[in-house]
């Protein structure tokens, strides 16, 4: 067989590897499909490469997924928009494969191509493709077709439009629940392209069928359609057609359906307008907040702030706030936790007076919750309430909560609170922090769990950034350096780590005068692990400190370490020396 000229060699290999036995190589070739196409030229890409891809479509799903993605941006390589239709056949077959993610990607690419195609091409090629898929023998093709109607419909001639609407209606009554689910999912997108007159008749009847489907999974998705359709309809139509559906959904026998309603309800408020919201949606929402099923209450509680933002404050205070009070003592910890994660956002909605009078007691009770997640969630959103009423009112209850979390016996809880310490510090201010929290931050450096010590080291760095080097010189550095004499080498290692993090924040002067001597001193440690960590830290300090200091202090220490009996110490010391050479050469 012919050899190919030298500059083309990599491409020749790339093309051959489209059919290599190693999946990684095939994947790589598919990912470079645009290179292959450019090498072949537009015409051969159309006449050879694309048909080749169409035929070789029983590959592994990973390869098919990559192919579906690449073809979506392939229009420039086949000769521009006027030839876009040649890309449809390979994507059409990809729309029928069994693997959901491949189909989804193929549909996405088809939509992308369809959006750029000329109108006559859409009529000639795209619409027939949608119809073929919708009449597909396997449910996989029909599932994919549902996601393409919104591209095909706007360009279709009048007769085709009628047909497309009819076909969509049939898909919504398909034997296979998978197809009905896909039709329900895509209904909103399709409806957005349908003329207002048909929207009220055809689409609404399709929608009503879906809301009465005997499969819960289909009805669930119809709930999602409510909000999308609601936004398309005139308010009075929305009130007439969507509102009754959503109200009945909110009392559905299946908790899963009610759960979806609880998640979606706030989106519908705008669509129906203020009056129906007050008369129908607020009562429905209140029912969901008091639902028997904890999962539904969790979803409803999680949306309480979003819902209140839409309502006027009086309605929120009158109807929602009493429920919030009940939820704050809910029997399910997950409900309380969901509430705690959003409740702080209600403060700006309710205003200062109502917050102090009504919300503050709830914050305080949640801050004392027996379940750590609840307390954590309150603390994580502290900034929101701070903007409305200031932190002073909370600080008295805050401190015990923080201290308790800081000493929680679950290390994940301790880890979570450490992450919030910089936020707390900025909200509470230096004064409060110094008194109460400083000691905690040092205590974490001596935690039994590595992750906590690691996070604690990061924490002191972030504090130094927050409050500045001067403050850190007083309140962090001495305490941290003091701990280098800890008996246990693991704790000494934490301190070395903290030093390497602090050095860039503190700047060269303090690093040289305070931090470096401690590190150099640690190079005499009896534990090799400390010694090679010293080498690593010194390496990180080299760019920070002055060149003369490197020559005078750092390098001699590293040279000494590079002759250590321990192999690891020698390795890291040599590595550090090499990097110092590089720094020197570059300057």
């Amino acid at each position: 067989m012919a050899m190919v000229d030298e500059p083309l060699y990599p491409i020749a290999v790339l093309i051959d590897e489209l059919k290599n036995e190693d999946i990684q190589l095939r994947l790589n070739s598919i990912r470079r499909l645009s290179t292959i196409a450019r090498a072949l030229g537009e015409e051969r890409t159309r006449k050879e490469l694309i048909p080749f891809l169409s035929e070789n479509n029983d590959d592994d799903d990973e390869v098919l997924l990559a192919m579906a993605e690449e073809l979506g941006v392939f229009i420039p390589y086949v000769g521009g928009v006027e030839y876009a239709n040649v890309l449809l056949p390979p994507l059409e077959t990809l729309c029928t494969v069994e693997e959901t993610c491949v189909r989804d990607k193929a549909v996405e690419s088809l939509c992308r191509i369809g959006a750029q195609m000329r109108e006559q091409d859409l009529v000639e090629y795209f619409i027939p493709l949608v119809k073929r898929l919708a009449a597909g023998e396997w449910f996989t093709a029909r599932v994919s077709s549902c996601g393409l109607f919104h591209i095909a419909y706007p360009s279709a001639p009048e007769t085709s439009k009628t047909e497309l609407r009819t076909i969509y209606g049939q898909l919504c009554q398909d034997d296979m629940p998978m197809v009905r689910r896909s039709a329900a999912t895509n209904l909103g997108k399709f409806a957005a392209t349908v003329e207002a007159a048909h929207l009220k008749t055809d689409i609404m009847s399709i929608f009503e069928d879906l809301t009465q489907d005997d499969q819960d999974s289909v009805r669930l998705l119809a709930v999602e359609g409510c909000a999308a359709l609601g936004k398309l309809l005139e308010p009075q139509d929305c009130v007439a057609h969507i509102l009754p559906v959503i109200v009945s959904f909110s009392q559905d026998k299946s908790w899963r359906v009610r759960y979806m309603v609880a998640n979606q309800l706030y989106e519908l408020c705008e669509a129906v307008g203020p009056e129906p919201t007050r008369s129908d949606l607020v009562p429905a929402y209140v029912r969901l907040l008091r639902d028997n099923e904890a999962e539904v209450r969790i979803a409803a509680a999680g949306k309480v702030t979003k819902f209140c933002r839409i309502l006027n404050p009086e309605l929120a205070i009158q109807h929602i706030l009493p429920c919030v009070k009940e939820l704050s003592t809910d029997s399910s910890q997950h409900v309380r936790s969901a509430l705690a994660s959003v409740i702080m956002g209600m403060a700006p909605v309710l205003g200062k007076d109502a917050t102090i009078e009504q919300l503050l007691p709830i914050f305080l009770s949640l801050l004392k919750d027996e379940f750590p997640d609840v307390r954590l969630n309150i603390i994580s959103k502290l900034d929101q309430v701070n903007q409305v009423i200031g932190i002073d009112l909370l600080s008295q209850s805050l401190l015990p909560a923080i201290v308790e979390l800081a000493e929680d016996r679950h290390w994940r809880v301790r880890l979570a609170i450490i992450e919030y310490i910089p936020l707390l510090a900025s909200q509470l201010g230096v004064g409060f922090f110094d008194d109460k929290l400083g000691a905690l931050c040092m205590q974490w450096l001596k935690d039994k769990v590595y992750s906590i010590r690691d996070a604690a080291a990061n924490n002191v760095k972030r504090l130094a950034e927050e409050f500045g080097p001067d403050w850190a010189m007083q309140h962090i550095i001495p305490q941290v350096l003091d701990m280098i004499n800890n008996q246990h080498y693991l704790y000494r290692m934490t301190i070395l780590h903290a030093i390497s993090l602090l050095a860039p924040v503190m700047g060269p002067e303090i690093t040289c005068s305070k931090l470096l001597p401690v590190v150099i001193n640690a190079s005499k440690d009896r534990v090799p692990n400390i010694k090679f960590n010293v080498a690593k830290v010194l390496q990180s300090l080299i760019p920070i400190v002055d060149q003369s200091v490197v020559e005078k202090t750092v390098r001699p220490c590293l040279v000494e370490l590079s002759e250590d009996p321990d192999v690891d110490v020698r390795f890291f010391a040599t590595q550090a020396l090499q990097s110092s050479d590089q720094v020197m050469m570059s300057t």
Partner: protein
């Protein structure tokens, strides 16, 4: 169906003719004196919803697939395949299609437990795009398999002749840059040649003529099984059942104490929907023995317990369905209690009838048919092997009393079947007025030891008068008077979804019968 008096009457015209059973096929028949390997013993049988495919699992962790070969237009219209009604006049004949190793023996290092590879259950999922899908499970891990005809391909007409390139390595390499040289030496080109981007820029707009695409020629196809997903680490106890939901996207898996709900596409999480584990394990009084989704109601699940009860749960009510919506159990007959009562009451298998109205359950001695609209007792009770009652003591001593027999219903719901010892299985008619009770042996001559006893429905003392008990053999011993062999037990069998055809497993052999 024979119902209570409030049950709807099936369209029955007098007593229907009993089925005449004939031998159809056997796979893996044992030669005389041949010893059975433990790993070859069949442990699960399942027809797919069309009846065109049959899967068996064995103790060695293998799954064997059979496909129907007695019809010319095997696939018909594919849309029909997705539906379930598919009628052909001839009796089904199957041929071996493929097999694959589904599970391997494992060891749980945390609990120091060996995990057997034995397949506990197989369930078929919806076929798509010509590929078959099924779930198989051992004690701990459920796997989702795709079986597809793959083309055996031959690629030719490559741009680069690899064999020559490798042979002439040094010569060719001398013309190459460093990066592509490495590529040549590897032959398979494992190193990525660098510098595509520079080539991208230098390509002429008209393309490069000498490059060509490889030509792929396909020769034949062969079925290839691929594990698509593994659903693991969700069960502390042994999985006894898996069942697909009618929504086509979820399934349940049940172990002794819990039932979990999965999405087929998501293997990383499942939801616990039933948990019968008491706070203190000493308070444990019953375990879950079997669980199944309703065939059409996506939110209804039935599960059976070791105390002989069946519970129906409604998943709409709550996320954790610890409270059942319906409970089916038979009132104990006063005075009949013995040491074995509780043991033999344990239900080993439940199956919904296709219409979803009836549930068939198997306990050690009987088959019971329940109407889900009637919870005061079973509609009908069939005695499977009443002659063993005096031998319960022996059966207890050799542990046979804990054998888990499966049961099945015919597609039209007019017959039920279950296995027994000595490789026997029994078929009962359950339509109105039927007295059919056939004993068949899993061999090439199924009626050799037939015990055809069309007994009149008798009324055992103390039971509800309208509840029928049938099939009790008149004689206490086997018809031939031969001793029963407790080591040859027929635990697993399945009824074809649309035809009167039964597949049953006698240790390592798969026997098929039709009527």
């Amino acid at each position: 169906m024979i119902g209570g008096d409030e049950a709807t009457k099936a369209p029955a015209a007098g007593a229907p003719q009993p089925l005449e059973w004939n031998f159809s096929q056997v796979f893996g028949e044992r030669a005389a004196g041949e010893e059975v390997q433990e790993v070859d013993i069949i442990s699960a049988i399942e027809f797919d919803r069309t009846g065109d495919h049959l899967a068996t699992g064995d103790r060695g962790g293998r799954v064997v697939l059979f496909e129907r070969n007695d019809t010319k237009d095997h696939y018909g219209h594919r849309r029909d395949l997705e539906r379930t009604d598919y009628l052909i006049s001839r009796h089904p004949e199957f041929r071996y299609k493929t097999e694959f190793q589904s599970h391997e023996p494992e060891f749980d290092y945390l609990k120091s437990l060996e995990i057997e590879e034995k397949i506990n259950k197989i369930r078929w999922c919806h076929a798509a795009n010509g590929a078959l899908f099924l779930l198989s499970t051992n004690d701990k891990t459920i796997k989702f398999w795709k079986v597809q005809e793959k083309k055996v391909k031959k690629v030719c007409d490559l741009n680069v002749d690899h064999s020559r390139a490798m042979g002439n390595g040094p010569v060719v390499c001398s013309r190459k840059s460093a990066s592509s040289k490495q590529c040549m030496e590897n032959g398979g080109c494992n190193e990525r040649p660098s510098g595509y981007s520079s080539i991208d820029a230098s390509l002429p707009s008209g393309g490069v003529p000498p490059l060509r695409l490889p030509v792929v020629t396909t020769h034949e196809t062969s079925p290839v099984a691929k594990c698509r997903r593994i659903y693991a680490h969700a069960h502390d106890y042994h999985i006894n059942s898996i069942s697909n939901n009618s929504d086509g996207e979820t399934f349940i898996s049940a172990d002794d104490l819990r039932i979990n709900l999965w999405n087929l596409e998501i293997s990383s999480q499942s939801f616990n929907i039933v948990d019968v584990k008491p706070a203190n394990m000493e308070d444990l009084t019953e375990v879950i023995t079997s669980a199944e989704f309703h065939p059409t109601h996506c939110n209804t699940i039935a599960y059976s317990s070791s105390r002989g009860s069946i519970r129906l749960i409604d998943m709409r009510q709550s996320a954790l369905c610890d409270t059942h919506s319906k409970l089916f159990e038979e009132q104990e007959v006063p005075g009949s209690r013995s040491f074995f009562t509780e043991i033999i009451a344990s239900i080993s298998d439940i199956k919904f009838a296709k219409d979803g109205r009836y549930i068939l359950s198997r306990d050690y001695m009987t088959l019971k048919l329940w109407d889900i609209n009637m919870d005061r007792g079973p509609v009908t009770t069939f005695q499977v092997h009443e002659y063993l009652r005096p031998k319960l003591c022996d059966l207890y001593e050799n542990d046979s009393i804990f054998d888990k027999f499966e049961c099945c219903l015919s597609g039209d719901g007019r017959h039920v079947a279950t296995g027994s010892y000595s490789n026997l299985f029994r078929v009962f008619g359950c339509s109105e007025g039927s007295t059919e009770a056939t004993t068949l042996e899993a061999s090439k001559n199924p009626t050799r030891r037939q015990v055809q006893t069309p007994t009149r429905p008798s009324k055992p003392p103390g039971t509800l008068p309208r509840v029928l008990r049938r099939g009790a053999d008149t004689s206490g011993a086997d018809a031939n008077g031969s001793a029963f062999d407790f080591s040859t037990k027929l635990l697993h069998l399945a009824w074809h979804p649309t035809e009167n055809s039964v597949a049953c497993a006698a240790s390592n052999s798969l026997y098929m019968y039709y009527a």
